[in-house]
Amino acid sequence: MGRYVLRRLLQLIPVFFGTTILIYWLVWSVPGDPFAGKCGERACPDSYVQFMTDKYHLDDPLPVQYFHYMANLLTGDFGQTFGGRDIGEIIAAAYPNTLKLALVALTIEAVIGLTAGVLSGLRRNGFLDNLVLVSTLFLVAIPTFVTGFVLQFLLGVQWKIINPTVSSDAPISELIVPGFVLGSISMAYVARLTRTSIAENSRADYVRTAVAKGLPRRRVVGVHLLRNSLIPVITFLGTDLGSLMGGAIVTEGIFGINGIGREVYRAIVTKEGATVVGIVVVLVMVYLLMNLLVDLLYAALDPRIRYE
């Protein structure tokens, strides 16, 4: 087990270099001169463009730029935005908020999605099953920004139950509604996935055996059935944390959360390779670590899986 984890962690290193090169190259190939639109409806003075080009080594060929960037990154220096702000500071300020938001969303989708899925899976074609079917269809059909605007307007402006926007330090209690919005579509998937999995496994031999043994229903469902049915759901939830963080940009915008979404968007538009790479690399790491965690959870859920 220890060796397996170590091997997986070592694999992160080539992935790290691969993704940074790829992202750096992608941002670099975005068309447009970063300083062409900086001064509004007139061209920027030559002296300004020259100054910035020199300062950020933009005249150098791509490999040289990337080398500069990596050399700094390995000493812990994420570099600066064109506006002169430290990217490391931006990441330190914005990441915790996005992570909190994604975790809240994940928790909500896991709790509500699993409960709905288990209940509807056990009572197939019952009233509850149909209700879950219709409501999840409904959730999947509405884009996140619609859910966001509607909830913000109703809860924040109309009924004044919450603040329409989230405070700067983004406490968990204020993130519940944005978290629900962000997780709503995944929640529907979790419910559907759990329902199918439960429905399928409830006819499996080991469940029949457990029932025949005279085990209480609670134990049959809670341990035998649920544990085996969770594997596809855990896979989904694990990778979903990464997508929730990356996809939080819309939700962050609606609720005014100071997260990474706005910085990434701004940096892509202004061709700030260093900023995009810095933020996305951390995102990639989260994604990889979550995948590792999911793989380890498999072993815990299914005794037949062992890692050596």
Binding site: E41, A43, S47
Partner: protein
């Protein structure tokens, strides 16, 4: 927004006020127990400044609005866009429109307590003009004698050669007479020069700026305006507080101002409706449709003209658009009234002048080709020999220009019976890059926000040969001559008369097409009273009182 989560709006606003006041921290907090305004705090909306808060290096409104709060310039521009008035300047005198003597008021202070003296202006201007400092507003000083010695250009554009080191770092046209007097000699007479001096590039800089450098100063700016800087949390908020040693006219009555930095205007609007925001500069488009914002806000809705126009400019360097009759035909074929009504729900006014409504000196800038005259348009197109191929109008697709550009294209198409369509360029950066490189192959969207309230700003930069935003390379010797004569005229009136004469020629040659002038829709909370917008539409802090 830093208060409790679930309290009622009233309690919440009170909490915000308390917390904000606490952060501002001052001894005089006890003095105004009965006067809510003197100790009061407001929250307004803004956007994250792109660069550090240095006037010479800021060209966008997110940072520009904050700078205008923090600084007072030599002259100020009254709300509504009238003639500029002296602010920090005691007097600005000239006899020949080329040599100016500027006297500044005595005893005004920077926020660090040092006095504003003439050297603070001269040093700041020299710093901005010196090309190795690489500031965005460097070219604003090109009128001043000796600019070429401190500001060198790259000889081969984007090529391998570097711009040579300037000869000196001081412009010969600037001289300090005494602590409160300095003189400016321009390279050529320019009668509108005093009007320009209220623009942020001309603000004085405290001594500490020159020792600290741009980067450190930009994070903790020290100005000379009615409010001073407290703190800036990236993407979250910028806090300002009243500067009690301020002696000029536009003192602020309230104590603290928090500028909340929003990513989406819809979030700010929700905060405005919920009472968490006291001033929102531009109501989002989604709330303008069907006048929803007016029913949402009632008497808290404010409408004000701002000095911005939307135009469509011609790439005159493209042989297709050399014929003035063709350009005129296209202009006359656009139904501006309909665009203003149907696309903008009357939140824009159809253009009738080459300058925005009410620009000082702009009376003679009438746009005769801004009317919708389908018959005349068809006739002119025939005279121009028709138009073959497809006419493509370009716009940048990262802002909401698609609808009106398409409407304009359709209007031209149905009037002139030629093949017209509008095409979006993905981002403003790519769009501007093509324009700067003179690579446009069709008329393109151009917006113009005046730098200072004067008809000159709607003429010189746009239609004079070599003008800083004459991107279409329009050039007419007669126009240039009249501009030069006007610029060197002894008085502004004489200058404007010449400019008007020149614009009559421009009006016949149609280097660009004015479409609409912009009206801004703002809103306030019910906590504040008397709020007015300033000349560019951001809040005039001196007008704010708490109800």
């Amino acid at each position: 927004m830093r208060g409790s989560k679930r309290a009622s709006v009233v309690a919440l606003t009170a909490a915000v006020a308390l917390v904000v006041a606490g952060c501002g921290g001052g001894d005089d907090e006890d003095t105004g127990g009965d006067d809510k305004t003197a100790t009061g705090a407001i929250t307004i909306d803004g956007t994250q400044p792109e660069v550090g808060l240095v006037p010479a290096n800021t060209t966008e409104t997110g940072g520009g609005d904050i700078l205008d709060f923090l600084w007072t310039g030599l002259v100020m521009y009254p709300a509504g866009g009238g003639d500029p008035k002296n602010a920090l300047a005691e007097s600005i005198e000239t006899t020949d429109s080329q040599n100016y003597t500027i006297k500044i008021k005595k005893g005004t202070k920077f926020h660090d307590g040092t006095e504003v003296k003439s050297k603070n202006f001269v040093d700041a201007w020299n710093f901005a003009a010196y090309s190795p400092n690489g500031v965005q507003n460097g070219s604003f000083f090109s009128d001043i004698e000796g600019f070429a010695d401190v500001h060198t250009e790259d000889p081969d554009g984007e090529g391998a050669q570097k711009a040579p080191q300037p000869k000196t770092d001081k412009m010969s046209g600037l001289a300090i007479v005494d602590d409160y007097t300095f003189t400016v000699k321009l390279a050529a007479p320019f009668s509108i020069f005093p009007t320009k001096l209220g623009y942020s590039a001309y603000y004085p800089m405290p001594d500490v700026f020159f020792t600290q450098g741009m980067e450190a100063f930009g994070k903790n700016p020290i100005g000379n305006g009615p409010v001073k800087f407290v703190s800036w949390t990236d993407n979250v908020e910028i806090k300002l507080t009243r500067f009690d040693d301020y002696t000029l006219e536009d003192k602020v009555k309230i104590k603290d101002v928090t500028v909340k930095l929003y990513q989406e205007d819809t979030a700010a609007y929700a905060d405005l409706l919920a009472g968490n925001l006291d001033y929102m500069q531009q109501i989002p488009v989604s709330a303008l449709a069907g006048d929803k914002w007016k029913s949402d806000l009632g008497d808290r809705a404010i409408e004000v003209d701002i000095p911005v126009m939307q135009l469509i400019a011609f790439p005159i360097y493209d042989p297709k658009f050399k014929n003035a009759n063709l350009r005129k035909a296209i202009s006359l074929a656009i139904n501006r009234q309909e665009i203003a009504e149907k696309i903008f729900f009357n939140t824009r006014k159809p253009a009738t002048s080459w300058a925005r409504p009410g620009a000082p000196g702009g009376e003679g800038f009438t746009c005769t080709v801004c009317e919708y005259k389908p018959d005349e348009a068809k006739q002119l197109l025939q005279q121009a020999g028709g138009f073959t191929g497809e006419l493509v109008l370009y716009y940048n697709a990262d802002a909401s220009h698609k609808e009106w550009m398409e409407a304009a294209a359709n209007s031209i198409k149905s009037t002139l019976n030629i093949n017209v369509r509008a095409e979006g360029v993905p981002t403003f950066a790519v769009f501007r890059q093509n324009i700067n490189a003179r690579k446009m192959t069709g008329p393109y969207r151009a917006g113009w926000q005046e730098d200072f309230p004067s008809a000159e700003n709607w003429f010189g930069p746009l239609y004079v040969t070599g003008g800083s935003s004459n991107d279409g390379l329009y050039s007419n010797a007669e126009v240039d001559r009249l501009y030069k004569e006007g610029a060197s005229a002894a008085t502004e009136e004489a200058a404007y008369a010449k400019f008007a004469e020149a614009m009559k020629i421009v009006d016949q040659e149609v280097p660009s097409i004015p479409i609409v002038s912009v009206v801004q829709q703002s809103g306030t909370s019910n906590k504040v009273t008397g709020v007015k917008a300033n000349n560019v539409g951001s809040i005039d802090l001196s007008t704010v009182s708490l109800a």
